[in-house]
């Protein structure tokens, strides 16, 4: 990292904070040995700049204590960086676009339909697919946290987990969509799905005009993550372009 050199006192303060927070979480007073932050500490509150170092220190300690296996950590990171991502969802959507019987199954029982293509797992939860049409536009948010269909779309982008999106998607969905460059007419009904429970949502975006001759594989290439969250539509390929 190219951050400024961390001060030891900053790290110590973070740890004090963490210990105090831990005590609060436990419903107890401050844990033994944890000092209360002083008024002076509050004046210097910043995000600690040396988090990469502190994460490394933690991992080193946990590995040395034989509490975690670094190879398993590598495998998890690799899976989410290279295999589990929105391409999975795109294949589900492309199949639904070219196969109306599959689409009916997907809308009826999304877990089973996604599993047909090999996408399943605990974090999919109870998957529900809702369809965007010319008359109804759906979008997904998790106002309380960051619920998202991991095996189908991977880990959510930062904006999805951020306060601006979580706070406004429910009260001003049209304004939010405008920020993503999507202006909807008054005649379109907007449905916001706040995934508060164990149900995870995937949007089935509209298939754009001009894609009739494209194969399932070619279609999967144009299906974006954002369209499957519902914050954008899929841009049709340029007219006359032989795909």
């Amino acid at each position: 990292m190219t951050k400024s050199k961390p001060k030891a006192v900053g790290r110590r303060r973070f740890l004090k904070d963490a210990a105090v927070t831990a005590a609060v979480v436990a419903g107890q007073g401050p844990v033994a040995g944890a000092q209360q932050p002083s008024a002076d500490d509050h004046e210097h509150e910043t995000v600690p700049a040396d988090i990469a170092l502190r994460v490394r220190a933690l991992e080193t300690v946990l590995v040395e204590k034989q509490m975690v296996d670094p190879a398993e950590l590598d495998a998890v990171v690799d899976a989410y960086e290279n295999r589990i991502g929105p391409r999975n969802g795109a294949r589900v959507v492309a199949r639904a676009w070219v196969d109306s019987v599959y689409k009916a199954r997907l809308l009826d029982d999304a877990n089973a339909a996604a599993a047909e293509l090999g996408y399943e797992g605990a974090q999919t939860g109870h998957l529900v697919v809702v369809e965007n049409t010319a008359d109804v536009h759906n979008l997904v948010v998790c106002t309380l946290c960051s619920c998202y269909p991991w095996p189908i779309l991977g880990l959510p982008p930062v904006w999805y987990k951020s306060a601006p999106y979580r706070s406004r998607a429910v009260i001003d969905p049209r304004g939010v969509l405008r920020e993503f460059g999507l202006e909807l007419g008054d005649e379109v009904e907007v449905r916001v799905w706040d995934s508060t429970a164990d149900i995870r949502y995937l949007i089935l975006p509209e298939r754009p005009a001009g894609t009739e001759s494209m194969t399932e594989e070619e279609l999967a290439e144009i299906i974006t993550r954002d369209s499957m969250i519902g914050v954008s539509k899929i841009t049709p390929p340029p007219t006359g372009d032989a795909v």
């Binding site: 419903g27 990171v77 904006w159 706070s167 008054d186 907007v190």
Partner: protein, 215 residues
């Protein structure tokens, strides 16, 4: 709990920051935190760790808003490890294991594993098209009933079957997981937001039966 995490409908959070070329993990430490939190799970058995979401929500509000997502996860992870005395502040500071402390051992679970996913069928209290009101509950523990729907009228549009309640007490310990139906309930935008909402628009939430009463 009525924390800052329950932010649906709030103003003042700023513009959405969109990065079209966002990597899965912005820096390697984020991936390590993600993987560590998943890997450390078994060490919480018998150690009274609170509900994951409750512990994130318990980060003081000002810090919660200032922290990035994985900073919150890291804070929560460190809190758990310190609280259970699995690591010491000195070890975290130095990255070196205290040779005078015995290696930690896994403990047997003291409570049954929390059930997840859809459960055996129990009788539903509500049915499709039924009008319901979200109850005006303000629990101190974790809940999946956002403030912005409490007391509001909606319509059940779908019954998803029975799921275990995820709510906790004020110490983050899971409440009795009485299986109950979860329903998608449609709330008209104007019911929630008055004239700030378009008359056509609606918000759909998945709500456990305990959150609802007949209207």
């Amino acid at each position: 709990m009525n924390g800052v995490h329950d932010m649906g409908g709030m103003d003042g959070m700023g513009a959405i920051e969109y990065n079209p070329d966002e990597p899965v993990f912005h820096e390697p430490w984020e991936g390590r935190v993600f993987a560590l939190v998943r890997a450390i799970g078994p060490w919480g058995r018998g150690r009274n760790w609170g509900n994951f979401r409750f512990e994130l929500e318990s980060i003081p509000a000002a810090q919660y808003l200032r922290m990035s997502y994985y900073e919150r996860w890291f804070t929560m992870l460190v809190n758990r490890l310190l609280m259970s005395d699995l690591v010491t502040p000195e070890e975290l500071e130095t990255g070196e294991v205290d040779p005078n402390r015995p290696l930690p051992t896994l403990l047997p679970a003291t409570t049954e594993a929390s059930p997840g996913g859809r459960l055996a069928e129990v009788n539903p209290r509500f049915g499709p098209e039924q009008r319901v009101r979200a109850r005006n509950l303000h629990p101190r523990g974790h809940t999946r009933l956002p403030r912005y729907v409490r007391g509001r009228l909606g319509t059940v549009i779908r019954d998803h079957g029975a799921f275990a309640l995820q709510d906790t007490d004020m110490n983050g310990q899971r409440l009795a997981a009485r299986p109950q139906h979860v329903y998608t309930v449609r709330f008209a935008g104007v019911e929630l937001w008055g004239d700030r909402a378009s008359a056509r628009d609606a918000v759909y939430l998945d709500l456990w039966e305990d959150y609802l009463e007949p209207a």
